[in-house]
Symmetry: C2
Subunit: 94 residues, 2 copies
């Protein structure tokens, strides 16, 4: 599993991420793709996974696993804050 | 597993949900608690799970499983829309 198969979901247009997932599985023949989202983009990462699995690659890929975590960092004001993270592993159906 | 152990995360103050999780495991002696979130509240459900597991009940509970799904409904304008859902199962550590 190389970093190439990870897609970090942010504030680009929604379909960019769905297309990226579809491309990984089709033209790049990936076996797995990891969708990553932080903070408010967690909801969006889930939306991308759902649209990819249920609409574009229905019957071809599945949600293999989901993990959540959180990491601490200092914000602009030097205050310690924590942000949640999600990783959704999509895999080609056997 | 009864419906009593499910907590639906919405737009109430954040700590209400964390407190609800803690109460379920402490005063109500629940073995499992299911956090549910829809749409933009998915990120919040993950935040609640992380704060409960890493801060309030550290070492006592774990994230046992996470599932995502989506459901279709008609919005106010009668248009079919889909919304993503997350369910996070928290369980007492054995």
């Amino acid at each position: 599993m190389t970093a190439d198969n990870s897609i970090f979901v942010g504030n680009k247009p929604f379909m960019n991420y769905v297309t990226a997932v579809v491309m990984q599985f089709t033209t790049k023949h990936a076996k797995e793709v990891i969708l990553k989202g932080r903070g408010k983009f967690i909801s969006r990462a889930v939306d991308v996974a759902e649209v990819a699995c249920k609409r574009f690659l229905e019957g071809e890929i599945i949600v293999k696993g989901i993990t959540i975590d959180s990491e601490g960092f200092q914000n602009n004001e030097g205050k310690d804050v924590r942000v949640s993270i999600i990783e959704i592993v999509l895999a080609r159906k056997e």
